[in-house]
């Protein structure tokens, strides 16, 4: 009798705690079947010669920690460590979050404390860089203004040997912490600051020891500049399934199984809209190196067909990871969109429709 009761109690507690987590592989849930509208949008006939239109490389949907949809196209498959472009910025924020949890820095610390070349801009704080609000006079245009583009010069010409130093050389146009201006340079200053935050011995392995290995990510690539600083703005590569592990970490308040990897206050900062953002300055509302589907500065939320708690990591040419905690949903979308016709809201709308019972 007593034995039976214990067993029953054990069973009940196991059911209550049944929260699927990926081990070596992701568990599978019941696949969604109502995918026609979603696939019509994400996977139209693909033209790799003209590179026109929407060209999705990967679409992975996870609900409550289980894969419910997965499709690849073009040369990409489940084993491809795909270029994430600016999703790298949100990944660096997660890496920094682990260092924050170690008590190694504060959001209000001046960046120059950890990265001396920024001494000419002593007022810039870590929080300002996370908000893309350094006040440095940065030009982010990629293709349309190549002569003036800071980001093209940083990645390929004048800045590629030492991207943080190239960024620090910019003049300022506004006091730090006041105005939003999206800047890959700000993100690479964070990567340079991390070097002294964790120390040069731990730095080369830190993204792996701090974030990738605890999450079971086995094949991450993160390219560096010639000084060994991670290109936090642009050059992390992960499979869709591995990127989703970071999404699950974010969706579950920074916890991985029983371990609080990211402090809750760090996540709260990541997911709080930056007060200095003006309506329509960018395609979504900036938090701390993450993008939020929130109403801000009198404008409606950027993705009206997605829940208001949706947040995302976004990258050039259509890379995206959307996290929707209220729906226990997470979506990784890799692509190679060269003409800008892809719309986040349209994909989210069709995913929401497809997952409804």
């Amino acid at each position: 009798m007593f034995k039976g009761l214990t067993l029953l109690l054990l069973l009940i507690s196991a059911t209550i705690q049944a929260e699927p987590w990926p081990g070596e592989q992701w568990p599978s849930g019941s696949p969604i079947s109502n995918v026609e509208a979603l696939e019509n949008y994400a996977f139209p006939p693909r033209d790799d010669t003209t590179r026109k239109g929407i060209r999705t490389d990967a679409l992975l949907i996870i609900r409550d920690g289980q894969i419910i949809y997965e499709r690849y196209a073009g040369p990409t498959n489940a084993q491809t460590p795909h270029l994430t472009w600016s999703i790298s910025k949100s990944l660096m924020a997660a890496v920094l979050g682990v260092a924050y949890g170690e008590g190694l820095f504060k959001l209000e610390d001046p960046v120059a404390k950890f990265y001396p070349p920024l001494a000419k801009h002593p007022q810039i704080k870590i929080a300002d860089l996370l908000h893309w609000a350094s006040g440095l006079d940065w030009q982010e245009d990629y293709e349309y203004a190549p002569l003036k583009s800071s980001v093209v010069a940083m990645l390929y010409t004048r800045g590629h040997r030492d991207m943080a130093a190239y960024t620090a050389d910019h003049d300022s146009y506004a006091p730090p912490g006041q105005a939003f201006r999206y800047s890959s340079g700000d993100s690479n200053l964070l990567a340079a600051a991390l070097k002294n935050i964790v120390g040069p011995q731990r730095y080369p392995d830190y993204p792996w020891t701090a974030l990738f290995e605890p999450l079971g990510i086995r094949h991450a690539v993160w390219e560096t500049d010639a000084t060994g600083t991670f290109v936090a703005s642009s050059y992390a590569y992960l499979t869709a399934r591995d990127l989703a592990r970071v999404g699950l970490l974010m969706a579950r308040d920074g916890r991985w199984n029983d371990r609080q990897l990211l402090p809750k206050e760090w996540l709260a900062f990541n997911l709080t809209p930056f007060a200095g953002y003006k309506a329509h300055q960018d395609e979504a509302v900036p938090g701390g190196q993450w993008w939020l589907n929130r109403a801000a500065d009198g404008a409606a939320s950027p993705w009206p067909d997605a829940p208001l708690d949706t947040f995302a990591a976004l990258g050039h040419w259509g890379q995206a990871m959307y996290v929707i905690p209220s729906e226990k949903l997470l979506i990784v979308r890799y692509g190679d969109d060269r003409d800008g016709s892809y719309r986040h809201n349209e994909l989210l709308k069709r995913v929401m429709q497809a997952v409804r019972p």
Binding site: P75, P81, H82, L147, Y156, V221, E223, A226, Y235
Partner: protein, 98 residues
Amino acid sequence: MKRLLLLLLVLLLGWIVYERENLWAFPDIISAYTAKEYCSCRYVMNNDAEYCRGYVKQWLPTSQFSDDPARKTITVSGMGRSNSAQWQSERQGCRLNP
């Protein structure tokens, strides 16, 4: 008319001096971009060579392209400049050579 031309010439020269750093760096973009992103396409993402050639294609042509698979080194020329990128390691992927 002559004065106007002179004024335009002065303005043009002023612009060239003002933008000299950007103008000097500009011709490197096409070869550096092609070398770096091809290297990562081929040796980090492990896509096939033909796909990667299409992947890095830009509106400006390159004049020379070589991929040394043994050293995983890509060298590209275009607009009178040459740049190369090399695969470093499993974790660090590719990098433009300094």
